[in-house]
């Protein structure tokens, strides 16, 4: 992955350029990831994708949890990864465990061994090992590390714990990483600036390509 900032505003905003994976065109940032379900934007079949603006529409989000119980990591590997499954080799796939519709973090069921999500297959506890197995089989261009996302109303103690766990799982994910791809370290901390900074400082110490800011909008 190559990222460079091309211009700054007077404030903090910046315009940049992202080069990733098999996508032959550089993607300008700020950029919007297209939400997908199982890798394809809802209702837009792959032959209709080129009708969307290019290369902006080449940046696709997906959650590995979409495939739980439907496509085993082994089958995904046998086929050759997500790009091969979908026949979209020139597209950039970004794996993010949570999405806002189907795979919602369930912080009350999360524990120190893994993060809990409400998924289309019911509530599931995802441990770093299982998460990395999915990532390794799918081979996304870019993936966020497993995080303990909590809403804004949890106690200070719970919020601190979420930072500790997220950093631990970051190390687990990096250690278990066989997939390649650009690693984006997840940053949690709720609405506590202190905790956010603490988390960010820890993440920055690790060798990551980018940062994924978790749950900025929570009920």
């Amino acid at each position: 992955m190559k990222f460079s900032v091309k211009a700054w505003s007077n404030g903090r905003a910046r315009a940049g350029v992202l080069l990733l994976g098999g996508c032959p065109y550089p993607i300008e940032t700020p950029a919007l990831l297209l939400t997908t379900r199982k890798g394809l934007p809802i209702f837009i079949s792959p032959d209709l994708l080129p009708s969307l603006p290019s290369p902006d529409s080449h940046l696709l989000q997906f959650s590995p949890l979409h495939f739980l119980e439907d496509l085993s990591p082994k089958t995904i590997s046998d086929i050759g990864g997500l790009h091969q499954i979908l026949g979209l080799h020139e597209y950039v796939f970004s794996a993010i465990p949570r999405d806002s519709i189907l795979c919602l973090p369930e912080c009350n069921s999360t524990n120190k061994t893994g993060a809990s999500f409400e998924t289309p297959c019911g509530r599931r506890l995802i441990k770093p090992v299982e998460y990395m197995e999915m990532i390794s089989s799918m081979k996304p261009n870019l993936w966020a590390t497993l995080a303990d996302e909590v809403p804004a109303w949890v106690s200070e103690k719970r919020n601190k714990a979420s930072v500790d766990r997220t950093v631990t799982w970051l190390d687990d994910c990096i250690r278990l990483n066989q997939a390649g791809g650009a690693v984006f370290g997840s940053i949690v901390g709720g609405l506590s600036v202190e905790e956010r900074l603490r988390c960010a400082k820890e993440v920055m110490k690790r060798n990551v390509s980018g940062f994924f800011c978790c749950s900025l909008f929570s009920a």
């Binding site: 379900r37 199982k38 394809l40 809802i42 209702f43 079949s45 792959p46 032959d47 209709l48 495939f67 439907d70 496509l71 085993s72 082994k74 089958t75 046998d78 086929i79 499954i85 979908l86 026949g87 289309p120």
Partner: protein, 398 residues
């Protein structure tokens, strides 16, 4: 008359023709997908063009309810409304009324029913049906007929047949756009050859641009089905298109084409796609089946469609019944399959390879040689030798 029908090739009763309509020049035999509400579920019009779709069917009943034929007319007709540059055919509205509405009542005036919108009593007359279809603006419009299912017996069938003939005159009188729209008559008469014959003669006397064979595809046994088609195609004029309504199983289409029919429509390919079933040369493939979960072959290795070229059965399996994309991709494949079948029927007849095509088709579908008896009987009447596919031990294995 707003069409030209030119036969370019034959094999016995089967014919390949060029059907020139106001919006498109079509090659027959052809299959027409059903775009009930001004759209084929799951496909955009450019995709339909890409897969070679020539004519789409619109349901007058559904369109008259929503968004109304007046609005469609105001917006320039259905072609413009749904952005479909090729040909369109609308049915009369009669069938849906009878099949969808339990309280429909058929009288000499027309079909009376309760509006599903507000429960008000409404009447669809032959005149009204033609006017609605005129506003929608399709290349081919269908006469309002008195449809009776072939599973019913008794005097009702005879009544329906004669009424259909009386109504065709009212349809013709109400048809104000004969140079832009082709009014097809529909042969009724149940499974009774005498009644069918009277109906055919009556319609042919009216010298219509084309004829449909109606009242089938409603649960009758296959043996009766093909015999009615055979009788009608033998009696209908050579130089006009013949449309068997509601026929969509690939096997049925091959048989009817062998017997001399040209056009078909059915919801089957798209509807079965929404239930997770793909059409393949061997018959059907049920993608919902657990065995598909780790099958990394395409749906049909011989198919050139976008779906088969890019996706595995495993991926489609994980989509079907859970994500709309599953229905979309399967609908795309199934319609591609039907369009290819149409092209193959047309080209094999023109190239003088029709019997070979039929045999190959049957061998793929019945590899053990267990071709159904009704197919064997129909092919005999059609003059096509399928003995190489019917015997339990085929000579091709020697």
């Amino acid at each position: 008359m707003a069409l030209r029908f030119e036969i370019l090739g034959r094999f016995n009763r089967a014919r390949a023709a060029q059907l020139t309509l106001p919006h498109f020049v079509c090659q027959t035999p052809l299959f027409m997908p059903v775009g009930t509400q001004g759209t084929i579920k799951g496909l955009a019009t450019n995709q339909l063009e890409e897969i070679g779709c020539q004519i789409i069917l619109g349901n007058t009943y559904h369109l008259a309810l929503r968004p109304t034929s007046e609005l469609i007319d105001e917006l320039g007709g259905l072609h413009k409304f749904m952005n479909w540059p090729r040909a369109l055919l609308t049915d009369s509205g009669g069938f849906q009324m009878v099949s969808l509405l339990h309280l429909a009542d058929i009288t000499e005036k027309g079909v009376t029913f309760q509006s599903p919108v507000d429960g008000k009593p409404m009447l669809l007359t032959p005149e009204e049906s033609i006017q609605i279809q005129s506003r929608i603006g399709a290349d081919i419009i269908m006469a309002l007929d008195d449809v009776v299912r072939t599973t019913i017996t008794g005097p009702r069938i005879e009544e329906a047949m004669y009424r259909t003939l009386r109504w065709i005159d009212r349809c013709i009188a109400a048809h104000k756009r004969p140079h832009e729209q082709n009014l097809f008559g529909i042969v009724q008469g149940g499974l009774d050859p005498v009644l069918r014959d009277i109906c055919v003669k009556g319609l042919v006397d009216r010298n219509l641009p084309g004829y449909a064979i109606g009242g089938l595809a409603g649960g009758e046994d296959k043996d009766s089905f093909w015999r009615v088609v055979a009788q009608c195609t033998a009696a209908l004029p050579e130089d006009k298109p013949r449309y068997v309504m509601g026929v969509g199983y690939p096997l049925d289409i091959v048989v009817c084409s062998a017997l001399g029919a040209d056009m078909y429509d059915c919801v089957y390919p798209t509807r079965t796609a929404r239930f997770g079933t793909a059409l393949v040369p061997e018959g059907v493939l049920k993608l919902k089946h657990r065995a598909m979960a780790d099958d990394i072959r395409p749906i049909d290795p011989t198919c050139e469609c976008m779906v088969c070229k890019n996706y595995t059965r495993a991926y489609i399996h994980c989509l079907v019944t859970k994500d709309a994309m599953g229905s979309q991709l399967l609908s795309y494949h199934n319609l591609y399959y039907m369009m290819k079948l149409s092209r193959d029927l047309n080209s094999s007849i023109i190239q003088g390879q029709f019997p070979e095509f039929v045999c190959k088709f049957l061998q793929k579908m019945f590899p053990k040689g267990d071709v159904p008896e009704w197919v064997c009987n129909a092919m005999e009447v059609a003059g096509i030798d399928i003995s190489s596919c019917c015997a339990p031990f085929t000579t091709s294995q020697d």
